[in-house]
Protein backbone atom coordinates (compact mmCIF):
# COMPACT_ATOMS: atom_id res chain seq x y z
CA UNK A 1 0.00 0.00 0.00
CA UNK A 2 2.88 2.34 0.74
CA UNK A 3 5.99 3.58 -0.97
CA UNK A 4 9.53 2.88 0.18
CA UNK A 5 12.50 4.99 -0.85
CA UNK A 6 16.17 4.13 -0.41
CA UNK A 7 18.71 6.70 -1.57
CA UNK A 8 22.42 6.03 -2.05
CA UNK A 9 25.40 7.33 -4.01
CA UNK A 10 26.94 5.39 -6.86
CA UNK A 11 29.92 7.31 -8.29
CA UNK A 12 28.61 10.61 -9.63
CA UNK A 13 25.04 9.37 -9.51
CA UNK A 14 22.44 9.38 -6.79
CA UNK A 15 20.27 6.29 -6.91
CA UNK A 16 16.72 6.31 -5.56
CA UNK A 17 15.49 2.73 -5.18
CA UNK A 18 11.70 2.82 -5.04
CA UNK A 19 9.47 0.04 -3.72
CA UNK A 20 5.70 -0.43 -3.49
CA UNK A 21 3.01 1.55 -5.29
CA UNK A 22 3.61 4.88 -7.01
CA UNK A 23 0.13 6.27 -7.36
CA UNK A 24 -1.87 9.39 -6.65
CA UNK A 25 -1.51 8.66 -2.95
CA UNK A 26 2.23 8.12 -2.73
CA UNK A 27 3.56 10.11 -5.71
CA UNK A 28 3.94 13.30 -3.61
CA UNK A 29 6.43 11.48 -1.39
CA UNK A 30 8.56 10.56 -4.39
CA UNK A 31 8.27 14.08 -5.79
CA UNK A 32 9.41 15.55 -2.47
CA UNK A 33 12.41 13.22 -2.44
CA UNK A 34 13.39 14.24 -5.98
CA UNK A 35 12.94 17.95 -5.26
CA UNK A 36 15.03 17.54 -2.13
CA UNK A 37 17.89 15.95 -4.02
CA UNK A 38 17.84 18.65 -6.69
CA UNK A 39 17.83 21.32 -3.98
CA UNK A 40 20.93 19.65 -2.51
CA UNK A 41 22.65 19.93 -5.87
CA UNK A 42 22.23 16.34 -6.98
CA UNK A 43 21.47 16.61 -10.69
CA UNK A 44 22.43 13.10 -11.80
CA UNK A 45 19.68 10.82 -10.63
CA UNK A 46 18.85 7.17 -11.22
CA UNK A 47 15.35 6.03 -10.24
CA UNK A 48 15.34 2.27 -9.77
CA UNK A 49 11.75 1.00 -10.10
CA UNK A 50 12.54 -2.72 -10.03
CA UNK A 51 10.69 -3.11 -6.72
CA UNK A 52 7.68 -1.07 -7.80
CA UNK A 53 4.41 -3.04 -7.96
CA UNK A 54 2.21 -0.35 -9.41
CA UNK A 55 2.83 2.85 -11.34
CA UNK A 56 0.16 5.21 -12.64
CA UNK A 57 0.13 8.48 -14.57
CA UNK A 58 0.68 10.57 -11.44
CA UNK A 59 3.86 8.58 -10.83
CA UNK A 60 4.93 9.14 -14.43
CA UNK A 61 4.23 12.83 -13.96
CA UNK A 62 6.57 12.94 -10.96
CA UNK A 63 9.31 11.25 -12.97
CA UNK A 64 8.83 13.70 -15.85
CA UNK A 65 8.87 16.57 -13.35
CA UNK A 66 12.13 15.25 -11.88
CA UNK A 67 13.65 15.01 -15.32
CA UNK A 68 12.72 18.63 -16.07
CA UNK A 69 14.31 19.79 -12.81
CA UNK A 70 17.64 18.03 -13.32
CA UNK A 71 17.76 19.04 -17.00
CA UNK A 72 17.33 22.66 -15.97
CA UNK A 73 20.64 22.09 -14.16
CA UNK A 74 22.28 20.22 -17.05
CA UNK A 75 21.74 16.94 -15.25
CA UNK A 76 19.98 13.70 -16.12
CA UNK A 77 17.41 11.29 -14.73
CA UNK A 78 17.69 7.66 -15.74
CA UNK A 79 15.37 4.79 -14.99
CA UNK A 80 16.26 1.23 -14.04
CA UNK A 81 13.47 -1.10 -15.11
CA UNK A 82 13.20 -4.61 -16.54
CA UNK A 83 9.60 -5.30 -15.47
CA UNK A 84 7.57 -5.84 -18.62
CA UNK A 85 4.44 -4.37 -17.01
CA UNK A 86 6.14 -1.08 -16.22
CA UNK A 87 7.98 -0.93 -19.54
CA UNK A 88 4.59 -1.27 -21.21
CA UNK A 89 3.40 1.82 -19.32
CA UNK A 90 6.47 3.83 -20.34
CA UNK A 91 5.93 2.68 -23.93
CA UNK A 92 2.20 3.49 -24.06
CA UNK A 93 2.81 7.02 -22.78
CA UNK A 94 5.74 7.66 -25.12
CA UNK A 95 8.16 7.98 -22.21
CA UNK A 96 10.60 5.35 -23.52
CA UNK A 97 11.68 8.16 -25.87
CA UNK A 98 11.99 10.63 -23.00
CA UNK A 99 13.86 8.56 -20.44
CA UNK A 100 16.98 6.47 -20.77
CA UNK A 101 15.84 3.13 -19.35
CA UNK A 102 18.49 0.66 -18.20
CA UNK A 103 18.47 -2.97 -17.07
CA UNK A 104 20.65 -2.48 -14.00
CA UNK A 105 21.86 0.27 -11.70
CA UNK A 106 25.39 -0.58 -12.85
CA UNK A 107 24.45 0.08 -16.48
CA UNK A 108 22.58 3.27 -15.57
CA UNK A 109 25.52 4.73 -13.65
CA UNK A 110 28.23 3.62 -16.08
CA UNK A 111 29.06 6.93 -17.70
Amino acid sequence: MDLSLLTYEEGDWTVIAVGGEIDVYTAPKLRDALVDLVNKGRYHLVVDVEQVDFLDSTGLGVLVGGLKRVRANDGGLRIVCTQERLLKIFRITGLTKVFAIHDTVAAATET
Partner: protein
Protein backbone atom coordinates in the same frame (compact mmCIF):
# COMPACT_ATOMS: atom_id res chain seq x y z
CA UNK B 1 -26.86 -4.51 -17.10
CA UNK B 2 -24.77 -2.93 -14.36
CA UNK B 3 -23.98 -5.52 -11.73
CA UNK B 4 -21.93 -3.37 -9.40
CA UNK B 5 -22.00 0.39 -9.11
CA UNK B 6 -19.57 2.44 -7.08
CA UNK B 7 -20.07 6.12 -6.26
CA UNK B 8 -17.11 7.92 -4.68
CA UNK B 9 -16.76 11.47 -3.48
CA UNK B 10 -14.07 13.34 -5.42
CA UNK B 11 -11.04 12.52 -3.27
CA UNK B 12 -7.80 10.91 -4.38
CA UNK B 13 -8.13 8.32 -1.61
CA UNK B 14 -11.08 6.61 -3.27
CA UNK B 15 -9.28 5.99 -6.53
CA UNK B 16 -7.71 3.05 -4.72
CA UNK B 17 -11.14 1.73 -3.77
CA UNK B 18 -12.18 1.97 -7.44
CA UNK B 19 -9.08 0.03 -8.50
CA UNK B 20 -9.83 -2.72 -6.00
CA UNK B 21 -13.42 -3.09 -7.16
CA UNK B 22 -12.27 -3.18 -10.78
CA UNK B 23 -9.77 -5.94 -10.01
CA UNK B 24 -12.33 -7.90 -8.05
CA UNK B 25 -14.91 -7.65 -10.84
CA UNK B 26 -12.29 -8.62 -13.43
CA UNK B 27 -11.33 -11.72 -11.45
CA UNK B 28 -14.98 -12.67 -10.92
CA UNK B 29 -15.45 -12.33 -14.68
CA UNK B 30 -12.59 -14.70 -15.40
CA UNK B 31 -10.35 -12.07 -16.99
CA UNK B 32 -6.76 -13.36 -17.41
CA UNK B 33 -4.48 -12.39 -14.55
CA UNK B 34 -2.19 -10.52 -16.99
CA UNK B 35 -5.14 -8.48 -18.25
CA UNK B 36 -6.38 -7.89 -14.68
CA UNK B 37 -3.36 -5.61 -14.24
CA UNK B 38 -4.47 -3.61 -17.29
CA UNK B 39 -7.95 -3.32 -15.76
CA UNK B 40 -6.48 -2.15 -12.44
CA UNK B 41 -4.46 0.62 -14.05
CA UNK B 42 -6.98 1.72 -16.69
CA UNK B 43 -9.93 2.00 -14.28
CA UNK B 44 -7.67 3.82 -11.82
CA UNK B 45 -6.68 6.29 -14.54
CA UNK B 46 -10.26 6.88 -15.62
CA UNK B 47 -11.39 7.35 -12.03
CA UNK B 48 -8.45 9.62 -11.16
CA UNK B 49 -9.22 11.74 -14.23
CA UNK B 50 -12.89 12.07 -13.23
CA UNK B 51 -12.02 12.90 -9.60
CA UNK B 52 -9.47 15.49 -10.76
CA UNK B 53 -12.10 17.06 -13.03
CA UNK B 54 -14.55 17.37 -10.13
CA UNK B 55 -11.90 18.86 -7.84
CA UNK B 56 -10.77 21.30 -10.51
CA UNK B 57 -14.34 22.54 -10.99
CA UNK B 58 -15.26 22.46 -7.33
CA UNK B 59 -17.92 19.79 -7.82
CA UNK B 60 -18.71 17.96 -4.58
CA UNK B 61 -20.93 15.30 -6.16
CA UNK B 62 -19.63 11.75 -6.44
CA UNK B 63 -17.95 10.22 -9.45
CA UNK B 64 -19.73 7.03 -10.59
CA UNK B 65 -18.32 3.73 -11.77
CA UNK B 66 -20.44 0.90 -13.18
CA UNK B 67 -19.20 -2.62 -13.76
CA UNK B 68 -20.64 -5.41 -15.79
CA UNK B 69 -18.98 -8.78 -15.88
CA UNK B 70 -19.69 -12.00 -17.68
CA UNK B 71 -17.23 -13.24 -20.26
CA UNK B 72 -14.99 -10.22 -19.85
CA UNK B 73 -15.57 -6.90 -18.16
CA UNK B 74 -17.12 -3.54 -19.03
CA UNK B 75 -16.31 -0.58 -16.78
CA UNK B 76 -17.90 2.82 -17.18
CA UNK B 77 -16.62 5.93 -15.38
CA UNK B 78 -18.76 9.04 -15.28
CA UNK B 79 -17.99 12.57 -14.10
CA UNK B 80 -20.38 15.53 -14.04
CA UNK B 81 -18.27 18.33 -15.46
CA UNK B 82 -20.16 19.84 -18.39
CA UNK B 83 -18.28 19.98 -21.71
CA UNK B 84 -19.18 20.42 -25.37
CA UNK B 85 -20.97 17.30 -26.64
CA UNK B 86 -18.75 14.96 -28.64
CA UNK B 87 -18.01 11.25 -29.21
CA UNK B 88 -14.99 9.17 -30.07
CA UNK B 89 -11.88 11.01 -31.22
CA UNK B 90 -13.69 14.34 -31.02
CA UNK B 91 -14.54 13.67 -27.40
CA UNK B 92 -10.88 12.87 -26.68
CA UNK B 93 -9.95 16.20 -28.30
CA UNK B 94 -12.51 17.96 -26.10
CA UNK B 95 -10.98 16.39 -22.98
CA UNK B 96 -7.46 17.34 -24.03
CA UNK B 97 -8.52 20.92 -24.72
CA UNK B 98 -10.38 21.11 -21.39
CA UNK B 99 -7.29 19.96 -19.50
CA UNK B 100 -4.90 22.34 -21.31
CA UNK B 101 -5.46 25.11 -18.77
CA UNK B 102 -4.91 22.76 -15.84
CA UNK B 103 -1.99 23.39 -13.55
CA UNK B 104 1.11 21.42 -14.53
CA UNK B 105 2.04 17.94 -13.43
CA UNK B 106 4.25 19.40 -10.72
CA UNK B 107 1.51 20.62 -8.44
CA UNK B 108 -0.51 18.22 -6.35
CA UNK B 109 -2.79 16.47 -8.76
CA UNK B 110 -5.07 13.51 -8.64
CA UNK B 111 -4.32 12.38 -12.18
CA UNK B 112 -1.37 12.51 -14.54
CA UNK B 113 -1.47 14.85 -17.50
CA UNK B 114 -4.37 14.31 -19.86
CA UNK B 115 -2.38 13.02 -22.86
CA UNK B 116 -0.74 10.37 -20.68
CA UNK B 117 -4.06 9.36 -19.12
CA UNK B 118 -5.79 9.04 -22.49
CA UNK B 119 -2.83 7.15 -23.96
CA UNK B 120 -3.04 4.69 -21.05
CA UNK B 121 -6.79 4.19 -21.52
CA UNK B 122 -6.30 3.52 -25.25
CA UNK B 123 -3.29 1.33 -24.62
CA UNK B 124 -4.69 -0.77 -21.79
CA UNK B 125 -8.37 -1.31 -22.60
CA UNK B 126 -9.39 -3.58 -25.45
CA UNK B 127 -12.07 -1.04 -26.36
CA UNK B 128 -12.47 2.56 -25.24
CA UNK B 129 -15.37 4.86 -25.86
CA UNK B 130 -15.44 8.44 -24.65
CA UNK B 131 -18.51 10.64 -24.70
CA UNK B 132 -18.57 14.25 -23.50
CA UNK B 133 -21.62 16.39 -22.94
CA UNK B 134 -23.32 19.04 -20.86
CA UNK B 135 -24.01 16.40 -18.16
CA UNK B 136 -20.42 15.28 -17.96
CA UNK B 137 -18.06 12.75 -19.48
CA UNK B 138 -18.44 9.00 -19.77
CA UNK B 139 -15.43 6.77 -20.32
CA UNK B 140 -16.37 3.21 -21.30
CA UNK B 141 -13.66 0.56 -21.04
CA UNK B 142 -14.06 -3.02 -22.23
CA UNK B 143 -12.10 -6.21 -22.04
CA UNK B 144 -13.17 -9.55 -23.46
CA UNK B 145 -16.76 -10.04 -24.48
CA UNK B 146 -18.69 -8.48 -21.60
CA UNK B 147 -22.10 -6.94 -21.94
Amino acid sequence: MTQVRLDVLPDAAYVRVARLVAVSMARLSGVDEEVVEDVRLAVGEACGRAVAAHLQHGLVEPVSLSFEGGRGLAASVVDRVGLPAARGHDAVAVLLAASADRPGADVDLVAGDAPAVLALLEGLAQQVEVRTGADGTMVDLRWGTAG
